[in-house]
């Protein structure tokens, strides 16, 4: 591709150097910001194909470029119009999908909230 730079190391004039593998390995390979209330839609994303709305608060996001294995790491967060923060957990990791659940309170029942975000770190297939 045009504009491609191949480099193993980035070096700062005074602060030292960094292997580019840290950048590659430490970058999210897929992420999504999902409106989970009202009409469910992606607000924005990278490397996502679709989301499956299973029931209240439970969604599966599919990836376009699958992860290499199912041991990747997901960070997830959610909130309802800044009013409260729901807990968002990963239910199932597969190489092509991640299934998440948002709940609030001690009942652990899936709850629809406005903002559902997740980022996925690991190796791509």
């Amino acid at each position: 591709m045009a504009g491609k730079i191949v480099a193993d190391t980035l070096e700062h004039s005074t602060a030292g150097s960094l292997d580019t593998q840290y950048v590659v390995n430490g970058s999210a390979k897929a992420w999504a910001n999902i409106n989970g209330s009202g009409t469910v839609v992606f607000r924005d994303s990278l490397n996502c194909t679709s989301l499956t709305d299973h029931s209240a608060g439970i969604f599966t996001t599919s990836f376009t470029n699958s992860m290499n294995n199912a041991d990747y790491s997901t960070t997830a967060t959610s909130s309802l119009n800044n009013a409260y923060s729901g807990d968002m957990i990963v239910m199932i990791h597969a190489t092509g999908t991640v299934k998440t659940k948002t709940y609030y309170g001690s009942g652990y029942a899936g709850t629809d909230v406005a903002i559902n975000c997740h980022s996925n770190f690991g190796d791509l297939a």
Partner: protein, 157 residues
């Protein structure tokens, strides 16, 4: 904008190109399906950036690539993908219409048991609709079902 020649380019690099150069396309189509009688209906929602890639052409791999990877992952001794090259080296698919993109999406992200037999049984297991045809609020979301009044003949008409 023309798509660069992407065959052999890592799929993730293609998606980054698309993110930078293509406007997301928010489709109004939704796919409603039921894959268990004990669960409520599921709704498949397309990703706008992915829709833009599908309609642009020359970016996405053919859907059979995902089926091959799914077969690999279903193996009992699966640890990691060894045929990821299929995503990057297979000739990308041409530009699709919005409707063709939804068909591709169904074959990629709906269970095969649903889309291969959607019209068998007393009522359809899957319906493609507009988002306006879904309930306007998510109240009673966990009880949503495809209506019993909808027949396969209705859908074929």
């Amino acid at each position: 904008m023309n798509t660069p020649e992407f065959q052999g380019t890592h799929l993730w690099d293609r998606l980054c190109w698309a993110k930078e150069n293509l406007e997301g396309y928010q489709s109004d189509y939704r796919v409603v399906y039921e894959d268990s009688i004990d669960e409520c209906a599921k709704i498949l929602v397309p990703d706008p950036n992915w829709m833009a890639c599908a309609m642009q052409g020359g970016i996405l791999p053919p859907v059979w690539v995902y089926h091959e990877l799914a077969k690999d992952e279903a193996q009992e001794d699966f640890k990691k993908h060894t045929r990821g090259y299929l995503l990057h080296e297979t000739q990308p698919v041409d530009a699709m219409t919005e409707e063709e993109a939804i068909e591709y999406l169904i074959m990629k992200d709906c269970p095969q048991s649903v889309w291969q037999n959607w019209d068998s049984g007393n009522k359809p297991k899957m319906v493609i609709c507009r988002k306006e045809q879904l309930p306007s609020t998510r109240e009673w979301r966990n009880a949503w079902k495809i209506t019993e009044e909808l027949t396969v003949t209705d859908l074929a008409a």
